[in-house]
């Protein structure tokens, strides 16, 4: 497996863990409040920091144990473009779903959390597509 494939798998794992942790926290807060918990800088900031630190650490660790291939070949560029284009459409669809949900429920906090979820889903989709397309091309 190349550095890039491992990197995308690591990012996907981090997103699943940190994203799951964030939504679990929100769920717990919502149970306490008996309504959807409003977003707080504290909770959101902590998980954003966790994701950033873990992502940078994984890249540093992977970079030390494996040579980073300079990703400049045509096929890599095509894979990258194709994956990102598809992921952006998936993210758009997920955001649309959040907006439709808001139309019928009118809960701003729920819209906030579902939109964050949509962005996370889009990023996960990107990671999976990168690995899938990378394997398919070779």
């Amino acid at each position: 497996m190349s550095f890039w494939e491992k990197g995308y798998l690591a990012v996907a794992a981090i997103l699943v863990l940190a994203g799951g942790g964030y939504f679990y926290t929100i769920w717990q807060q919502s149970i306490t409040l008996e309504s959807v918990a409003p977003p707080s800088w504290g909770t959101f900031g902590v998980y954003l920091l966790v994701i950033t630190v873990l992502t940078l650490s994984s890249v540093a660790v992977l970079g030390r144990v494996q040579t980073i291939n300079n990703r400049t070949s045509d096929i890599d560029e095509m894979i990258n473009l194709k994956s990102r284009a598809t992921a952006s459409h998936v993210t758009s669809a997920a955001v649309y779903a959040s907006l439709v949900w808001f139309l019928f429920h009118g809960d701003g906090s729920l819209l906030f959390h579902s939109t964050v979820g949509a962005l996370i889903v889009g990023e996960l989709c990107l990671c999976m597509l990168q690995v899938f397309n990378y394997n398919r091309a070779y």
Binding site: P39, S40, M78, K82, S92, L103, F112, T115
Partner: protein, 140 residues
């Protein structure tokens, strides 16, 4: 101009007109209320119906006028252009949505977040067609 470039012009124009129409309705409703208007299902449905009907009519006319090109699959250059434009439009959407989320964290106004997110989706779609047109012209 290729069929796909013409389609991009047409769709971009339809989305711009529909977007202006929708946000004009929202602005009027907000002015009447004295605050950011909650999203009205009727406005959203009107926007969707307008976009769907006009794009079906426009694409049908384009298809009939250039039957061969309309049915031909995208060639390698067009596929690259479509992917690149889709990729860049993703950044436009992400910027808008994240801005909306940050504003919500400060203002706790769900209606504003809705309109910003919806507007970001519209702008990113328009931007995708604009990027396609620019890349077709540039000769990527």
């Amino acid at each position: 101009m290729s069929h796909r470039e013409i389609s991009a012009w047409v769709m971009g124009s339809i989305l711009i007109i529909a977007g202006i129409y929708y946000f004009r309705l929202v602005a009027q409703a907000s002015a009447a209320l004295g605050e950011v208007s909650p999203p009205v299902i009727g406005f959203v449905i009107a926007y969707v119906i307008f976009v769907v009907i006009t794009s079906v009519i426009a694409m049908s006319i384009l298809g009939v006028s250039n039957h061969q090109e309309a049915n031909a699959p995208a060639d390698e250059r067009e596929k690259q252009i479509i992917d690149k434009a889709g990729h860049w439009s993703g950044y436009v959407m992400a910027f808008g949505v994240v801005t909306g989320l940050l504003l919500y964290a400060v203002t706790q106004d769900g209606n504003r977040l809705f309109h910003i997110a919806f507007g970001s989706l519209m702008v990113s779609q328009i931007a995708e067609y604009a990027f396609q047109i620019w890349l077709y012209r540039k000769g990527e």
